[in-house]
């Protein structure tokens, strides 16, 4: 497995070997699925759209619908205006969504199709909407694409609302699973706070089996709610990379102050999330949440000796990683290598600050790839690897226990339904981590050391 990856570090200057990121449109497509009755539309050649749908389908194991402008060579030379207009006509006539969310691909970005001006002359049926985002794949990553489409929602849907703000909060959950969005919504409901979440993919990519297929299931943020987000008291952007742009734009457009927080993974980030809400709405935290927190701390204390001091390598998307690094530190673990494929100097700075404060030595890298991560591990082994499905090759090559987290997880099921955010999510993470480590301990134990009770 990965036998050609040498131990000695090689100075590489160009390209990626085994990327830890992918391109913008898939993030944009996922975000667009978080609007009720929305059909994402990929403006470019159909191959991209096909790849993005397949990949999302593999992660969620649910139908992922999206249309494409289906470019051929001609459109690439003469521009894609005609293709986009035909698409809009056909999409509304045949599939009848309430809204279409157009994103570009590297092709249409390269030829310079001007989406707003094409849209201004397109025939959009009464009562229907078309929103858009520019998502060139040669900039950023799928996280940038997610952020751009979320920003596109604000850009195209939100109007500068009333000066008078309502007692409600906007929550931008970032690139997380529907299971996480559900959990965030549950916490908000426990708090009794009125909120608007977008994008919200719950009920869309985890829709129930009913024996009837619905192209547009019940879930997703309602357009009128997104429009109303301009009147909210403030916005919580969860995850700097995936959510802050949209929150900032909402502030510029409608004077809704943004608060950028970490994705609420682990105890500290969840505390911060709840404290922000409590302080702004001047409200008590209900006992139910306090009880959960107490249970989590109980579990952390009960189990700390299983992982304290263990070295972990983790890779994935920046927002998830910053939160997860913090949680690992709270468990007494050592995040020895933290690598994201997405570019971002800020990411490196933030993680380094965290590690330093904890007195932990670790390597941190933005815009890295799995080849590099693997080389680090070869030079300094770790006890645990955390990352998406692609990590399984490194885990096997180096025989490291492996916990699947992030996007995409294509070789396991159920993960997208269950949260990793909030106190309950943290419990689940501990279960996964200690399970992986203890399974390994059992596997490696000599017969005489194989124990029944801990």
């Amino acid at each position: 497995m990965l036998d050609s990856t040498p131990k000695e570090m090689i100075q590489r200057k160009v390209g990626l070997i085994n990327p830890a990121k992918t391109c913008q449109p898939i993030g944009a497509m996922y975000a667009a699925l978080g609007i009720y009755r929305c059909l994402p539309h990929s403006h470019g050649s159909q191959g991209c759209c096909s790849y993005h749908r397949s990949h999302l389908t593999r992660h969620f194991r649910d139908p992922i619908m999206a249309s494409s402008s289906s470019f051929t060579e001609g459109a690439s030379v003469f521009g894609g205006g005609a293709n986009l207009k035909t698409s809009i006509k056909n999409v509304f006539e045949i599939y009848d969504p309430d809204i279409m969310a157009v994103h570009t691909t590297c092709l249409t970005e390269t030829i310079g199709d001007d989406i707003p001006s094409i849209l201004s002359t397109a025939e959009v049926p009464e009562g229907k909407r078309v929103i858009y985002a520019s998502t060139p794949s040669y900039v950023g990553s799928h996280i940038t694409g997610f952020s751009n489409m979320t920003t596109g929602m604000v850009n195209c849907l939100v109007e500068p609302g009333e000066k008078e703000k309502k007692e409600q909060v906007n929550v931008l959950p970032g690139f997380v699973n529907p299971g996480d969005m559900r959990e965030i919504k549950r916490m908000l409901k426990e708090l009794g706070i009125k909120f608007i979440m977008f994008p919200d993919t719950t009920g869309v990519v985890d829709s129930p089996m009913t024996g009837r297929y619905q192209m547009f299931p019940r879930g997703g943020a309602r357009v009128k709610d997104i429009q109303d987000s301009g009147s909210s008291k403030f916005t919580i952007a969860l995850g700097f990379f995936a959510s802050s742009e949209a929150a900032f734009l909402l502030d510029r457009k409608c004077s809704v102050p943004p608060v950028v927080l970490r994705t609420p993974v682990g105890i500290k980030a969840t505390d911060e999330f709840l404290m922000t809400l409590r302080n702004r709405f001047i409200q008590d935290i209900p006992y139910e949440l306090e009880e959960e927190r107490g249970q989590l701390v109980d579990i952390m204390t009960d189990t700390h000796f299983h992982f304290h001091g263990r070295k972990v390598a983790l890779f994935g998307d920046p927002d998830m990683l910053t939160a997860m690094t913090e949680f690992l530190l709270s468990l007494g673990m050592i995040p020895a290598y933290v690598l994201t494929g997405s570019p971002g100097a800020l990411f490196e700075k933030e993680i380094n600050t965290m590690l330093k404060a904890a007195g932990v030595e670790g390597k941190v890298r933005a815009a890295g790839d799995l080849f590099e991560l693997h080389q680090w591990i070869k030079n300094g082994p770790v006890d645990l690897l955390i990352g998406n499905t692609y990590g399984k090759y490194i885990a096997r090559a180096e025989d490291i226990p492996f916990v699947r987290l992030g996007f995409p997880v294509m070789d396991r099921s159920v993960h997208s339904y269950l949260p990793v955010v909030g106190y309950r999510g943290a419990m689940r993470l501990i279960e996964m981590i200690s399970g992986a480590l203890l399974d390994r301990a059992d596997r490696d134990a000599a017969e005489e050391d194989f124990e029944l009770v801990m």
Partner: protein, 527 residues
């Protein structure tokens, strides 16, 4: 079964006029196939806005044909996405004697950035080639271009040539930008041309290493398919020179010219090479199908006929008898479950046809079949190739003209012998899918999402066999669904053992108790 014209028209009515005119040509109800040939439109542009399952030329070139070659490093020149999605997603397996010469688990991309789009990505590509050579020391390298590369005009051919000079290993460039052609099909063609020009015939061999030397073309070893075929062929006494391309390698492909016969499994993806091998080296090709028991048997018998060797024929029959004795009783139990059920069969280039025999053996009727990116000949047979009008999109894919190789051309069988054989076996011929379909069944080219939903409602198939993008659509309707591209992480499905595995998986889909829970009890028993 059988579909009423009026139901079909009701579906068409829901389309805008232009779309209706277009789609009508891509759908036909099979009528008396012995009487006349029915015409279907294929390999034309997808209508913008239509939710298709088709991919792009890059997917066909790097994803399908080049990707499985294990001892080459495949560099994708473009932004990160294309390379990333083509990384291990086809389930094409490979074993390498030297683990340092199996690069399938690596995904190499130039990850073009904005500045590369503005100033060109040529430097980056040649830098990447240098690094790849240094790190992996591969036997050869491929470079595949994605959409923006063609647009900004990076000369990947020139870069590959220079790098080849410098590193003294073959470096092949493929201009398979995603917008070329109308589907993956364009990419298959581009890949075929490149392999033919850059690899085949470069090996040292001039004579076949064995009397019954063959190549296996258009077999991608999904879920280990070609290992099952290998087992069968070896068991009978054939020698596989070059598998193409599943579990294939640069090293074996070089000598593909010496084989006595080329077997073609997936016609669509590789018929170009098959043709070129015949012209250039004098090796005929035989259309085989190793999916389904009878198909496998027929293919083996056709091969034996081709070689016309008594012992080989006898070994073939013995092998078949042995295998049948082993699998028939097992198949019987699955047949009981599957008997009388119907299937949809919509897949890429060949499986839409190939699986129908196996379904039949399981007692199932195929009520609708189609291809994602076929050409008319895949439906109607090769004889119509001269009638196919080339449109602008196909003309853009260069046809590689080959001539008999001065040194290596060797007529493997005489023209007389060939003629004689052609009456008995599909030598240099493929009859197409429609021929074998039952009257009243439906053939749909480039089936789209809307039609999928409508046809499922109309025909109520018991099984939906397709790819990952539409799999869960059918399943949400309560219809068991089988991925025929990637097999739902199962397989192999080819050959004798594969047929059993397939029947087992499909039967499992039917009998799974999970379907019984769809309706909650309070819906069944209202207050």
């Amino acid at each position: 079964m059988g579909l009423h014209e009026k139901d079909l028209n009701a579906i068409f009515e829901r389309y805008p006029a232009k779309v209706r005119r277009n789609r009508k040509k891509h759908i036909l109800v099979v009528k008396d196939t012995s009487q006349e040939r029915q015409q279907i439109e294929a390999n034309t542009r997808t209508i913008p806005g239509i939710i298709t399952t088709r991919g792009c030329a890059f997917a066909g070139c790097k994803g399908v044909v080049l990707g499985p070659l294990k001892d080459m490093v495949h560099i994708v020149h473009g932004p990160v996405g294309c390379g990333y999605y083509a990384w291990l997603t086809r389930r094409n397996k490979a074993r390498a004697e030297d683990p340092k010469k199996n690069f399938l688990h690596y995904c190499v991309t130039t990850d073009m950035q904005e500045s590369d789009i503005v100033f060109g990505g040529e430097k980056k590509l040649s830098g990447m080639i240098d690094e790849v050579v240094e790190i992996f020391k591969p036997n050869a390298i491929t470079v595949s271009a994605t959409c923006p590369v063609g647009l900004i005009g990076d000369d990947i051919n020139a870069i590959a040539r220079e790098a080849q000079e410098k590193h003294k290993i073959p470096i092949l460039a493929f201009s398979c930008e995603g917008y070329k052609g109308v589907s993956q099909s364009a990419g298959h063609h581009i890949a075929n041309n490149g392999l033919m020009e850059g690899i085949v015939g470069q090996g040292e061999m001039t004579e076949p290493p064995h009397r019954f030397s063959i190549n296996l073309l258009g077999e991608y070893n999904i879920g280990g398919d070609s290992w099952e075929i290998d087992r069968i062929l070896q068991g009978i006494g054939y020698y596989l020179v070059a598998p193409m391309t599943g579990d294939g390698s640069f090293e074996t492909l070089k000598n593909a010219h010496v084989a006595e016969l080329n077997l073609v499994q997936c016609h669509r993806s590789i018929n170009y090479i098959a043709e070129m091998l015949e012209t250039k080296y004098g090796t005929p090709w035989l259309k085989v199908n190793f999916i389904g028991i009878q198909n496998t048997i027929d293919s083996l018998r056709d091969m034996a006929l081709y070689f016309g060797d008594r012992e080989l024929t006898q070994r073939t029959e013995e092998f078949i008898a042995r295998e049948l004795a082993m699998i028939e009783p097992v198949m019987e139990q699955y047949k009981k479950i599957c008997q009388g059920k119907t299937a949809f069969c919509f897949v890429g280039g060949s499986r839409g046809h190939h699986y129908q025999g196996l379904f039949g053996e399981m007692g199932m009727d195929t009520v609708l079949a189609g291809y994602e990116f076929a050409h008319r000949d895949d439906y109607e047979g090769r004889e119509i190739i001269p009638d196919i009008k080339l449109d602008a999109d196909s003309r853009n894919i260069p046809d590689l003209k080959v001539t008999p190789d001065k040194e290596l051309f060797r007529l493997k069988i005489t023209p007389e012998k060939k003629k004689e054989l052609q009456d008995k076996i599909p030598l240099s011929n493929y009859q197409g899918m429609i021929q074998e379909m039952k009257d009243g069944s439906l053939v749909v080219d480039d089936l789209n999402h809307f039609e999928t939903e409508e046809f499922i409602r109309l025909l109520k198939p018991d099984l939906f066999a397709s790819g990952v993008k539409d799999k869960y659509v059918a399943q949400k309707m309560g219809i068991p669904s089988k991925q025929l591209h990637s097999y739902d992480y199962s397989g192999p499905y080819e050959g004798f053992r594969g047929a059993v595995k397939f029947a087992e998986d499909v039967a499992m889909g039917f009998v799974s108790p999970t379907w019984n829970f769809i309706l909650p009890p309070w819906k069944k028993d209202p207050l």
